[in-house]
Symmetry: C2
Subunit: 250 residues, 2 copies
DNA sequence: TGTATGCGTTATGTATACAATAGCGAAGGG
DNA sequence: CCCTTCGCTATTGTATACATAACGCATACA
């Protein structure tokens, strides 16, 4: 071992994966750009083996694309890709809600969901909402969606939803942030909260079809709003999707 | 390099991945069993680096599970996992069919689908169907589903469907094989063919909701039949899922 | 006899050396 | 002047050596 600095607190592979993901999402690496292993070794501080493992995982995650002749490049997404990904996740979450409703959920298990709901209600009482409250909203909303997914009790479905959320713009936090750029943001959050309320009610009453339908509607609303947000490209700095959008699409 | 025999025709990583997948699906490696890298090196003929890459990919594919203390084990699936995976794929294919219908598909693009349909019709004319014809059916059916998926023109969705089909029992071929174990197999194939006919018609007439509904029904039928097939465990040798089912489930 | 601790072995995580290929540039011929 | 070909360089693919951590066994003490 040479004079390489080694951080032994976490696995080198995980360290490299986090560092590379960060570079991609922050825009240091541009869409379409080839990722050089050597360069990744320098920027992440890990050696080539863990870097390669990280690259494979990021490819599976959907952030990278394998180049046929070898190596990887940062994947580029069209606006259509992004809205499809959101609708896709909505469809999956709809299935999760239906499973939860049909298979039955005890009052005890529904508790965390209701807590999220109440906490968000509290936040939305502020008009206009503060930056800090909005930030809490993002966290609570992500938690709501995660808990709902878990309630499906279906490991294959949970796994698939996690993968569908790996892309930043398709994650619950991602598109909420995008929506925040719109002037009618507050109204949008309130409508979203109504969806949350309905899905809980549908699950409680074991109405699978209704639970599924509302989650899909929830996603369709998100798609419409994301489209609008991408039109007004005002203060979109918040939007982590931006770093991944194909240049010169449309 | 020692006296190791190296096959230079394909990448060592791919070779190892194929070999390991084969071992898993053939049952050489049992569910829950830990995979030793050293052993994998011996059985695949590749060295540790490509073997590790293959293991990471197989984990992402869903065939392996990472062990917290290090290494990988063969993933075990419950019967519920299997039926959920099929329903999941049906839901995704439903979305694909809806996208195809809503976005519009030219007569030219629909041609391959109709060819599959006609070819399957031809096969089903035999009563009872021969083994060779059944084998052709499996291939044609897989092709039908693959083409339909492509018609969605949605790369994120296509990607997700591919991943949902990675598990052998969730692939179109897998569950058709399972159904073949049932006494009413011929009747089931005929009903499935009706679904195929309806989805084409719905896409042609741009009826998104109908196209989606029929694909979901198609999957639900498959789930019911798979459940039945797993009850009569007669000649289930055909079923590649069997190697992955948890021992002592139910 | 049972439990705990320490040592040894084995397997995984990491680093690096080596091999091969693809891409690019320069030079020569048509 | 353009096209083709040869060779070099840079980057990826592969192999293996080394470091480290976990598991198991044995032994000793309670």
């Amino acid at each position: 071992m040479a004079e390489r600095e080694v951080d032994r607190s976490i696995s080198q592979t995980v360290k490299a994966q986090l560092a590379l993901r960060d570079q991609i999402l922050s825009g240091s690496l541009r869409p379409g750009e080839r990722i050089s292993e050597l360069q990744a070794v320098e920027t992440t501080g890990a050696s080539r083996t863990p870097v390669r493992m990280a690259l494979v995982r990021l490819e599976e995650e959907g952030l990278l694309e394998a180049i046929p002749s070898g190596g990887f490049m940062v994947k580029a997404f069209s606006e259509r890709d992004i809205s499809d990904s959101i609708e896709l996740r909505g469809t999956l979450e709809g299935l999760a809600a239906r499973f939860a409703a049909e298979r039955g959920v005890s009052a005890r298990e529904l508790e965390p969901l209701k807590e999220c709901l109440a906490a968000i209600d509290e936040l939305l009482r502020q008009v206009p909402i503060s930056i800090e409250a909005f930030s809490s909203y993002v966290t609570l909303n992500a938690r709501f969606h995660a808990v709902l997914t878990e309630l499906s009790r279906s490991p294959p479905l949970i796994r698939q939803i996690d993968r569908a959320s790996a892309l930043p713009f398709a994650s619950p936090s991602g598109f909420v942030m995008a929506q925040s750029a719109l002037p009618e943001a507050q109204q949008i959050l309130i409508i979203g909260q109504e969806h949350h309320r309905v899905v809980i009610d549908a699950i409680e009453n074991r109405e699978g079809a209704r639970a599924e339908a509302i989650m899909r509607e929830h996603a369709r609303l998100a798609v419409r709003n994301l489209r609008l947000a991408l039109r007004n490209r005002t203060h979109l700095d918040l939007l982590p999707a931006l770093a991944l959008i194909k240049t010169a699409t449309d």
